[in-house]
């Protein structure tokens, strides 16, 4: 209870303090105005430039100016600048933002929702003024009101051209190699430890007469790691159906559950044993991370699976699952693209697919040559990365920065 109270009070503190402190400083500020009103007035900003924010959905304007000559030098009493805007040159202008001293630009990004307080209309004349805020809390209203400017949305984001080129290149390579594979060209793929182990592990489970546990992780169907895991599950389920070994697939996400049911069902059909399929072998547990782990851990110690396969997205639970699996005496094969969890799987499992190997495994296990085509394209991608890096490093030594700028992608 004490802990809760403490947490609660900390929470309240966090919410209250900024507000309280703000009021405090406002109070002190007004005091300061009285006693220090004699301080000299800093110079105003000059050369206010306005433009529509490029590569956006509209409702945003870039304001630029030359800072006051008393900012950092001269009187050196400027704390920051307040930006104001309005719909008419003579009408009242609203304050929209504040930037600290030494800055000369501000992006005024508004809401696109008409009912929102920060809404900025598109295709309408807007006017701006930049005021100077001094150390004693005074606001020196500038005489210059700049404008008009209009904001609008664009149909192509020029800042993302680098990605467009990458998309085109990668798609071309993938389709090219898939076509080659379809045409019957042999593609070499190096052996991957964990993949070879999958078939052996299924055989082991059959010999021991114990089930196989397949964990799809905490990912949703939106995670590509989970999609890759589905393909591997399909392969495992097919083998399992042929050997008539039971399979257990507890799931964390209901959509993942439905897809997994579909996968396992089809695999049983492909193996010619649709009647052996048990809908409940793929079931939902709960959408809470540690409750899911608690249940899967219990399942491991009670059903004693001969093999545990963990493929997909895993978080802190990786080690809980893998250690319990080793207590249960299972062979464990894991694969994840969650970098922080790879060390734990490496330490606790018999075989681990590191990062990209998970995706390679899903292509490899499908045993269809056309699936392997994309691996070749991925390798080209890595090759390209290395080549570009070396060029960049050589240029960096000669102080050429512009090459790196080619790879900056706009938000």
């Amino acid at each position: 209870m004490k802990l809760q109270l403490l947490l609660l009070s900390l929470l309240i503190l966090m919410f209250c303090v900024p507000v309280g402190a703000q009021e405090d400083s406002a109070m002190v500020d007004s005091l300061a105005v009285d006693s220090l009103a004699a301080l000299p007035v800093p110079a105003p900003v000059t050369d206010i430039g306005l433009s529509d924010l490029p590569n956006d959905h509209g409702h945003a304007v870039v304001v630029e100016w030359t800072p006051s000559t008393d900012d950092g030098s001269g009187l050196a009493n400027v704390v920051g600048y307040q930006i104001n805007y309005g719909l008419s040159k003579d009408g009242p202008l609203d304050s929209v933002g504040f930037v600290p001293s030494a800055s000369g630009s501000y992006e005024h990004v508004g809401s696109k929702d008409e009912n929102d307080r920060t809404y900025i209309p598109d295709h309408t004349d807007l006017y701006y003024r930049v005021d100077v805020k001094t150390v004693d809390g005074r606001l020196l209203v500038s005489a210059e009101v700049a404008g008009p400017v209009q904001s609008s949305g664009q149909w192509y984001n020029t800042g993302r051209t680098a990605v467009l080129i990458a998309v085109a290149l990668f798609s071309f390579l993938t389709i090219f190699y898939v076509q080659q594979a379809k045409a019957g060209k042999e593609l070499y793929i190096r052996p991957i430890g964990g993949i070879e182990a999958v078939d052996d592990a299924i055989g082991r489970a059959t010999e021991m007469g114990r089930p196989i546990l397949y964990v799809l992780g905490l990912g949703t169907a939106a995670d590509v790691a989970t999609i890759a895991s589905f393909t591997i599950l399909g392969r495992v389920a097919k083998r399992v159906a042929e050997y008539q070994t039971p399979i257990m697939v507890p799931t964390y996400d209901p959509i993942v559950m439905t897809v997994a049911q579909e996968v396992v069902k089809s695999s049983y059909m492909d193996a010619g044993r649709p009647d052996d399929y048990d809908e409940d072998s793929v079931h939902f547990v709960t959408q809470s991370q540690f409750a899911y782990v608690a249940a899967v851990n219990g399942m491991m110690l009670r059903e004693r699976p001969a093999t545990c396969v963990y493929m997909g997205k895993f978080f802190a639970e990786s080690l809980l699952l893998a250690e319990t699996g080793s207590v249960a005496g299972s062979i464990q094969i894991s694969g994840t693209d969650e970098i922080a969890q790879i060390p734990f799987f490496i330490v606790a499992c018999d075989y681990t697919l590191i990062g990209e190997e998970l995706y390679a495994a899903s292509a490899y296990l499908g045993r269809e040559p056309k699936l392997l085509g994309s691996l070749k394209a991925q390798d080209w991608g890595k090759g390209l990365f290395v080549v570009l890096s070396i060029i960049g490093i050589i240029l960096a030594n000669f102080g050429v920065e512009s090459f790196g700028a080619l790879f900056e992608v706009a938000d």
Binding site: M1, K2, A222, T286, F344, V347, K382, I393, N397
Partner: protein, 277 residues
């Protein structure tokens, strides 16, 4: 269940009751809140110990806590989904009267597709959802693939461009570190100076980064046989990976111990009251 199980269970219940009684007499406040507060603290301590008992072996106490947790957490997420998704996300976008009934501000879509107002279009995901439920029927079960296809397609497209951008294009420029000099731009990369403060160690770090990335990528090459110089480079790559896996394992220990400190402090402090919590 075996007889020993009942005995253990009975013993635990008695201990729990004793602790509850003792705790209620220690706490101050009114009688009702006293008993209730003591119950809650004791229950939490009991569940904590039940989960810890899993370390010894699977046992009825763990099974109890596990099954309770699964049920309660599923219900919790269900309630959360109802209030945040159905009421918070879906209802305000449909009809004004409906949002009023749920005391939610009506958020009509400000645009329409081919003249159909945005809120009517929200019938489509509802239809897709109903199609998903069709999988309970054996005759129309195939319909449930449609919503799944929609979800997978949308997210595949989403991930395709986003990962190409963040994990590929954006990573390229971050490897551009000078390997031959200009130490000033280098120093940010290093925290290892051995008091030689310096360009040498910083440069060394840059080399390590370059070689690490390069050999690591070679390790991930699938379509080339790992033999000869290629094989040796890939070996260096997996070594670098192993070193960093070991280091991050060692680094994580601290955080995990802190979690255990938290639980033990709860047991000793809030429950038993023998240390300050």
């Amino acid at each position: 269940m075996k007889r020993s199980t009942y005995l253990v269970f009975g013993g635990v219940v008695v201990l729990f009751a004793l602790s509850w009684i003792f705790k209620s007499s220690v706490l101050e406040d009114g009688v009702y809140s006293n008993v209730w507060e003591a119950f809650k603290v004791t229950l939490a301590a009991f569940l904590t110990l039940a989960i810890f008992s899993f370390l010894y072996k699977d046992n009825p106490l763990y099974k109890f806590a596990e099954h309770l947790y699964v049920g309660i957490s599923a219900a919790y997420w269900m309630c959360l989904a109802f209030w945040s998704t159905v009421v918070g996300n879906f209802i305000p976008r449909t009809f004004e009267s409906l949002s009023a009934a749920f005391k939610q501000p009506y958020q009509p879509s400000s645009w329409d597709i081919l003249g159909i107002p945005g809120n009517i279009i929200y019938i489509i995901p509802v239809l897709l959802g109903i199609m998903l439920l069709m999988r309970l029927s054996s005759k129309y079960g195939w319909l449930s693939r449609w919503p799944l296809a929609f979800i997978v397609g949308t997210t595949a497209g989403l991930n395709f461009v986003r990962y190409l951008r963040s994990d590929f294009v954006a990573q390229v420029s971050s490897t551009f570190v000078p390997l031959l000099g200009t130490p000033d731009s280098v120093s940010v990369w290093s925290s290892f100076d051995l008091n030689a403060t310096g360009p040498v160690v910083a440069l060394l770090s840059n080399w390590v980064i370059f070689i690490g990335v390069f050999s690591g990528l070679v390790y991930f090459f699938f379509s080339k046989e790992h033999t000869g110089w290629f094989g040796r480079t890939s070996k260096v790559g997996i070594w670098v990976l192993m070193i960093t896996f070991g280091a991050s394992f060692g680094y994580t220990v601290m955080g995990r111990i802190s979690l255990l400190v938290g639980r033990i402090t709860y047991l000793f402090g809030d429950w038993l009251g023998i240390v300050q919590s």
